[in-house]
Amino acid sequence: MSGQLAMPPLHAPQPLTEAQSGLWYAQALDPANPIFNTGHYLDLRGPLDAGAFRAAVNGMVAEADALALRIEAGRHGPLQSVEEARRPWLEVVDLAGEADPEAAALVAMTRDMETPVDPARQRLAREVLFRLGPRRHIWYQRAHHLALDAFATDLTLRRVAELYAARCGQGQPGRTLPSFSLALAEDAAYRGGTRRAADAAFWRDAFADGPESVGMVPGTAVSARRAHRCAVALPESVGKALARLGPPWPDVLAALAGAYARRHTGGEEAVVGVALMGRLGSPAARVPCTLMNVVPVRLQPDEQLPLAEMLRATTQPLAEARRHGRYRGEQLRRDLGRVAAGRRLFGPLVNLLPFGGLPAFRGLDVTQHVLGTGPVDDITFTFRATPSGAGLRLEVEANPDLYSGAAARAHALRLAQFIAAALEAPCLAAVPTATPAEADWLLHGLNATSHPVPDTTIWALIAARMRETPHATALAFGEAAMTYAELEARSAALAGVLRAQGAGPGRIVAVALERSFALMVGLVAVLRTGAAYLPLDPGHPPERIARILADARPVVLLAKAALAGGTPVLPPAGWPRQGAAPAGGPADDRADGPADGPPDGPSPDDTAYVLYTSGSTGAPKGVVVAHRAILNRLEWMRRHYGFTPADRILQKTPITFDVSVWELFLPLIAGATLVLAPPGAHRDPVALAAILRRQRITTAHFVPSMLAAFLAEPATRGLRLARVFCSGEALTPELRDRFHATCTAELHNLYGPTEAAVDVSFWPAAADDASRPVPIGFPVWNTQLYVLDEALRPVPPGVTGHLFIGGVQLAREYLGRPDLTARAFLQSPFRPGERIYRTGDHAQVREDGAILFLGRSDQQVKIRGLRIELGEIEAALAGSRMVRQARVIAREDRAGDRRLVAYVVPGDGFDATALRAHVAARVPDYMVPAAFVALAALPVNSSGKLDRAALPAPGHAASHSRPAETEAERRMASLFAEMLGLERVGAEDDFFALGGHSLLAVELMLRVREAWGWDPGLGALFEHPTAARLAALMEDRGEADHGLGPLVRLCQGDAALPPLFLVHPAGGISWCYGRLARALAPRRAVHGLQAPALQEGATLPDSLEALAADYVDRILAVAPHDTVHLGGWSVGGIIAQAMAVRLRALGRRVGVVAMLDSYPTDVWRAEAEPDAHAPLRALLAIGGFDPDRLPEPVPLEPQAVADFLRRSDSPLGRLPPQVLSGVARVVRGNNRLVRAHRHARYGGEILHFRAALDHAGRGLHPDLWKPYAAAVKVADIPALHAAMTGAAAVARIAPVLSAHLLARDTEGQE
C-alpha cells in the first residue's frame, strides 16, 4: 500500500490536501477568526512523572509532523511544508504559586484559543503542561484544524498515553504514528484515481432531484467567531436500548437526529450532514492530520413504522454515503451549484464519535474538557461514546448568529429527550417534539389567564349604565346625539314590539340597517328581549341573503325594506318611540324598565349574535356566540385598556364583520360615547381623518390594508388619538413603524377568528417595539392559545404548528351544522370537559412566549420544495420608499409553473428593476418575485381584506409600449417574452425593466445568435435593451460588440438630464456599474468609460493626465449638455478627479464628482507592488465577487478563475480569452500611471461614498482628498470596498447620488 504511493518530502513546499484546502481558504477569508483552533485539556490528578510525561509528549510531537506545518499562499495556491522550528515541544508552566492556579490555567487556555492563528506566520499547535500543584496538572493541546481533526487529536492523545506508560515501565511503546507525507500521498492518489470520478457520479445522482436543504432556523450558515457549546449525558437506558437494536448505534442516532431536524423544518425529508472520519481503508488511517469530511445524507424516516423497521430504510442511505465518503463535501457543494451565500448542502451536522473513553494514565485520574472543535456553521449534534455505546453524551454546538445560547441548550435537552423517548416508543409518530417541561410551559404556563368576569350579559351591563348616567351621551351621529336615557326609552319601546313578534331567548332577529341611530336602537332592543341579532348587508347578493334567512329563520327583520326570503320586516319608520302600556301583559314587561329592578332578557348562556362568515369553500356558516363569550372579550378590553365614560369610540366597521361587535357595545358597557361614522365613510381616508379630528375620537379600529391606505393620505399626518386597534390581517413591522411616524396613538395588534368572539390575543405594537414579525401576542382573559402539531401536541418555540384556541370565548356552534361544528370544535386534550377550536392558521411561539401568526395555508407556498412565507417578501417590499403598499402571491398561470408575483402600489421613484434589486438584497433568490406589477390600489373586498381574485396576471400589466410591428421585431419580442416568462412584450419595453438579469441576458443572446445567425456580442443587449432596437441591430448586421468598447451605455433615461459618466475600476471594464445606473431615480443616461487598453493593439498613454484627457475627449463627443457628472469606483475615482480638473480647464461645467471608496494616489505610491494576482482579483471583482470572500476556494490562476466565473454563471465567463489578457494589461498599465500621478486641485466638491466596513487600521479616509478638492462630502455606506457596486450598497448609494445629481443638474458648480 504505502509502498506504492509516492511520498513527497515534507521540508519542501507541497500542495494542500483537499481536506485542508477548504479550511485554509476559510481562514484566509477571515484572518481574525479564531474558530479554527481546536483544543482541549486533560485534568490529571495524582502523581505525574513529569519527566516521563514530557518525553512522551515530545515523542508524539516528533512523530506528528502536521503539528509543525507552515502554510502560506503560493503563486498557484497555498503550499505547506514542515518547519522544525515550529514543532510544539511541550511547554511546562508552573502555576502552583498563583492564588487560583486552575483559574489561571483556564484564563491562559481561553486566551490562547481565542487568538487567531495565521498559518503562514505562526505555529499551528501548542502543547502545554500547567502544573497546578504536586498532584494536579492540566495538559493543554491546541491545534489549528488544518493540522488535526477530532480523530487525529485522539490519536495523539493515545500515543502520548502509550509512550508515558512505556516510560513508566508499563508495556511496549507500540507503533509509531506514520509520517504526514503518507497523508499527502494518499490524497494525491485519490485525486488522480478512478474512484474519485465514480464517487462524484454517485453524489450527483443522489442529489439530482434533491430539494433545497434548509436549516432549522432561517439564516446563512457561515461560522461566527465563537460557538455556543453545551452538553447533556444521555440516560443509561438509552445506551441499553441502543445495544438491543440491530444497527450500530451511530446509524440509529443519525436517523433520529434527522427525524428531529425534520420536526423543526417541516419538510418531507431532512438532509443532515454526516461527519466521516475518512480513515477506513486508508493507508493514512493513523496519520495525525485532518481528514474529516462532511457529506449530506437524505433521510426520510417513516414515523409510522416501528423503530427497527424504520431504521432499515435509513441505514441504506447512510451506508451508501459512507461508501462514497471520500469525496469532499465542499466539492460536492460546488458540483451541485449551491455555492451562493444562503444556500446550503445540509441542515444540522451530525457527528458520531465512537472513540470516546480516555486512555488510562497510570496512577492518574483523568477527565477531558473540550474547548473548541472548529467552525460551527449552523448547529452540530455530536454524540460521543465508547465503541460499545456506553457513557453516551450529546454535545451541541451552535452558531450564535443563528441561535441564542438558550436555544442551543433547549436543543440539547430536547434532542436528548426525543432520542430517549423514540427508543421506547412504538413508533416515532408517538413521540412529541417538545420536552415535558416545555409542554407544560406551553400548555399551562403561557395560558394562565384565569380572571374573574361577572356572570352576566351585555344587556345587563348596558342597562346598568343607563341607570347610572341617563343623561350622558350614548351615541353621536353627525351633529346629532342621543343620551342613554333616550336610547333606553326607544329600545324599550321597540323591544315590546319585537316580543310581540316572538323575539326572546333562543330566537333570532335579523338586522340589516345602515349606520344610524336606528341601527343602535334596533340592536339594543333585540338584546333586551333576550334574542340574538343576525347582521346582514343588504348589498350582498339576494340569493346569499335568502339562503342565510332560510337557514337562521329569524322571527323578524329590522330593515328599511323587505329582503329576499320572506322574513317579516319592521322598518324604522314604523317603530314606536316610547313604550306602550302593557295590556295586562306579563310581569316581565314592567320589570323590563330600568326603574323596576333587574331587567329580564337574556341569561349569560343565551346567544348574543349570530354572524355569518364566508368559508373559503362552500356556503356561509352562521357562528353562534353567547353572551358569556362576548362579555369576556368586552370586559377584558374595557379593563385592560382602561376605557372610561370619557372615551369616544368610532363605529365604522360594517356590522357583518365581527370587529364591529366591540365598536358597537364596548362604549355602551363603559358608559362612553359611540360615534357612528356616516355610511360609506370607512372607505374614504380623507373623510375618516376629518371625522377622527372633528369628533375627537379616542379609539378606532383599522384592518391593516386600510390602515396603510389611510396613512398614505397626507391628511392623516399628525393625528392624535388614545388608541388604534388593528385586527383582521397581519400587521407588518413597516406599517407599525409608519404608523408611529405619522400619528400619535397607542397601536394594538389583536387577533381572533369570528368563532372565538372577535379577538383572543393582543400585542402592544408600541413605537419602540422592534419585533419582526409583529406578534399576535398573548391570550386574553380566560383564553388559551395552543400551537400544536398534527397529533395535537404543543410544538417547541420556533417551530411552526397549527393554532388552536380554548376558553370561554369559543362560539357554541355553526348554526344548524353539527358536521362543521364537530370538525372545527374538538374536545380539549388539555382541559377535560372543555373544547378547543381549530383556526386553520399557522403559528409559532417565540422564545418569550408571544405567539407569531404565520398566515393561512395559502400564505405559505412551496417552490422547489422550499417553504416560503409570503409575508417575508412583503416585508422586504414594504421597507422600500418605492413602495406604498405591497402584497405577494404565488400564481400558477401556466400549469406547473408556480411563480411569485408582487403587486405594488408605487411610492416615490418607483422602478421595477430597482425594486427587484432592493428585494434581492433582502431575501434569498428563490424568494424574489418573478414579476412586479404596479397598481393604482390593491383591490379589497367588502371586509377590507385583499381581494386576490381581482389581482391581474402579470403578463398583461407589465407591458406598456406598442406591439411589435415588423417581422424582426415580432421575433425578437417573442424571444424576450419567452425568456422573461411573460405573455406579451411591447416593442419598446426595456428587457431589464421587465425583470431581466444578467443570466437571462446571456441566454437571450444565445437564442438571438441562433435565430439571426451571427453574434452581436453580449454588449449589444446593454446598448439596445428593447426588442425594437435589438431587432433593428440584428437586421442591420454590424460589428460584434463584446461590451469592451471605450464607451458603453449602461442605462438610458431622461434625455433632458445631464448624463453621468462612470470610469472603470482596476480591470478597465465598467459593467459593474449597471445596477447602480439603473437604480438612479429619475433615470438618466449613464455611460461607462472603459480602458482602451482592453483592445489588443492599443497603446497606453504616458500619464494619468493624458488618460484623463483622452477620456474627456470621448465624453465631450457624446455629451451635448453643458453639465456632465462624473464618478468612479476605486481607481475610477482617481481618474474622475483628474477628468474634472481637465473639464474645468476647458471651461466646461462639472456637476457631481462621485467616488466609490477611492483614495488619492499618494496612498498607492506607498503600497507594495501588486503581484500577478491583481488582474485576476480585478476580474473577479468585475464579475461581482469579492475576491477576498469567494464562496469557494479559487486558485488565482487564469484558467481556474475563468472556470469559476463560468460556473457561477457570470456573463464574464463567456467572454473570449483575449479579455483576460486585456484586463491584465490594463491593470499593470493603470498601476504604473497611478503611482506616477500627482493630483492637481479640483475647484469643486467631491461626493465620497466611503466603504465604512473596510480599511480598518489602514489610515484611509476621505479627508485625504482635502488638498485636492474644494470640498469633500462623505456618505458612509456599510459595505466592504469590494461590495460597493453590489445590490445592498447600491440600494443605499443610489438615492443619495440621485439627489445630488438632481441638485447639480442646473446649478453646475462655480
Binding site: 500500500m1 490519536l155 493515545r158 511496549q172 507503533r175 450500530p248 451511530p250 446509524d251 466521516l276 472520519m277 480513515r279 477506513l280 481503508g281 486508508s282 493507508p283 488511517a285 493513523r286 451506508a319 459512507r322 461508501r323 458520531l352 465512537p354 472513540f355 465503541p387 460499545s388
Partner: protein
C-alpha cells in the same frame, strides 16, 4: 480465544454474507463493510480485554491484516 475462522464468521455475519465468500486478501469494503460495522466488530473482539486500535484496523481492511493484528495482541496479552 479468537481464531482466524471466528473472525471470518463474525465478519460474514455482520455483512450478511457467507463465510466462504470472504477470502483472506479480499477488500472488505468492497464486500460491504463500513466503519460503523468495523467498529462493531472491534468492540466484540475487544470483549476479552484485548487492546485493539481502530487506526490500525482502518489501515488495511482484509481478513488477513486483521487476523495479524488480533493474533499479535492475543499473544502479547498471553505472554
Amino acid at each position: 480465544m479468537l481464531t482466524r475462522e471466528s473472525l471470518r464468521a463474525d465478519i460474514a455475519a455482520i455483512i450478511h454474507a457467507d463465510p466462504g465468500e470472504i477470502g483472506g486478501e479480499d477488500d472488505l469494503i468492497d464486500l460491504g463493510l463500513d466503519s460503523l460495522r468495523a467498529m462493531n466488530l472491534l468492540v466484540r473482539w475487544s470483549g476479552s480485554g484485548l487492546r485493539l486500535d481502530f487506526g490500525e484496523f482502518a489501515e488495511r481492511l482484509t481478513l488477513d491484516a486483521w487476523w495479524a493484528i488480533v493474533d499479535r495482541q492475543q499473544q502479547q496479552q498471553a505472554g
